[in-house]
């Protein structure tokens, strides 16, 4: 668990404001406010590009949709490896680790992250992976489509009608929570 230990130390020094609660979840998830903001800033400092309007509250809304803030949750789909707060799958861990896919094609070569499967259930690791994945998905929005926040969130789930429904749900939660400010 080198990652958790290493960044756990940095986390103690990293002070950030509390985020708004997500609509319908009460105060659930407030314990992850620091982690979300930390990882967003960390990946930015590693030159990972994100949509201009991406803020930590939207990532919090995405976590609410993915896992209802249950850090130990595993997907109910048969054989699925999606687990943790941001429901990161083994396939995504491959991509983020820079491992080859079809015909030795590697999707990502910079700001790589290597973690063990069991560590995905650690909130520190899971949020690190999920936020990095958002950056990766932003860089991979297909040509002819606007490079924006909506398409990044859609792409995080799937580039199809299901992805649209998902993005709308995340944005609906985000906007309701944002208004509470």
């Amino acid at each position: 668990m080198f990652l958790s230990r290493k960044f756990g130390e940095i986390d103690e020094r990293f002070q950030c404001p509390a985020l708004n609660p997500i609509d319908g979840y009460g105060n659930k998830g407030s314990e992850y406010d620091d982690l979300i903001q930390f990882w967003l800033e960390y990946w930015k400092s590693e030159s990972v590009e994100f949509p201009e309007k991406l803020d930590a509250l939207l990532i919090k809304a995405l976590i609410a949709v993915e896992s209802t803030f249950d850090s130990k949750v595993r997907s109910k789909a048969k054989g699925s490896t999606a687990s943790g707060l941001m429901q990161v799958t083994n396939q995504m861990v491959r991509v983020l680790g820079g491992f080859p896919n079809q015909d030795d094609y590697i999707e990502q070569r910079k700001a790589l992250i290597h973690v063990k499967n069991e560590d995905k259930l650690d909130p520190v690791v899971n949020i690190a992976l999920g936020v990095r994945l958002l950056g990766h998905k932003y860089s991979k929005i297909p040509k002819g489509n606007e490079k924006n926040l909506y398409n990044t969130v859609k792409s995080y789930h799937s580039w199809d009608k299901g992805g649209d429904t998902y993005a709308k749900e995340v944005f609906s939660k985000y906007e309701k929570s944002f208004k509470k400010k």
Binding site: T89, L133, K140, Y156, W159, K161
Partner: protein, 169 residues
């Protein structure tokens, strides 16, 4: 003096052998570490399928978000040489409500990659276009293999990708 020189040379060759082994061991350890973190992903490399009548289908990645379906046939020419000929091909990007970053074959029926599921005398194959999104329950595309092309006949919903089971029981 000469003896001393030969002894030191002997030591040098011993040392170089030791250093070489050390470098080899360090390299092995580094390799081991990376593969230790390599999780098993989806079978995206399952992109080539041989059909029983000497035809084949290749789901070739041609661009970041594009995959090509190629239908070909292997035959012998007049000189008896084996030749592969492309019968038909189609490039897919955003098609059939999917983004074709990758495409791979699924088992269509009880462990088989091709089967005549609608009993029309033609084989059907199951293809999964994949965009590397986090959602692992998708639509499987069922194509019928016509003599001159592939034609989509069905989109089978709720296929759990990571279970990698047959699309039809």
């Amino acid at each position: 003096m000469q003896k001393k020189y030969f002894l030191s040379m002997k030591n040098l060759s011993k040392r170089s052998r030791f250093i070489f082994l050390l470098i080899l061991l360090m390299g092995y350890q580094t390799y081991g570490k990376e593969s230790f973190y390599e999780p098993k992903g989806l079978p995206l490399s399952r992109d080539f399928l041989k059909l029983p009548d000497n035809r084949w289908i290749w789901l070739k990645k041609v661009d970041e978000h594009k995959s090509k379906i190629i239908l070909g046939k292997k035959f012998r020419n007049s000189k008896g040489k084996l030749i592969n000929k492309v019968i038909w091909s189609e490039e897919n990007e955003e098609k059939h409500d999917a983004l074709w970053d990758y495409a791979y074959f699924l088992k269509i029926k009880s462990g088989k990659y091709f089967s005549d599921i609608n009993h029309d005398g033609r084989l059907e194959v199951a293809v999964m276009p994949f965009d590397n999104g986090n959602n692992m329950v998708r639509h499987a595309l069922i194509f019928t293999v016509k003599p001159d092309r592939l034609e989509l006949i069905k989109r089978q919903a709720n296929y759990p990708l990571e279970a990698d089971e047959s699309v039809f029981k």
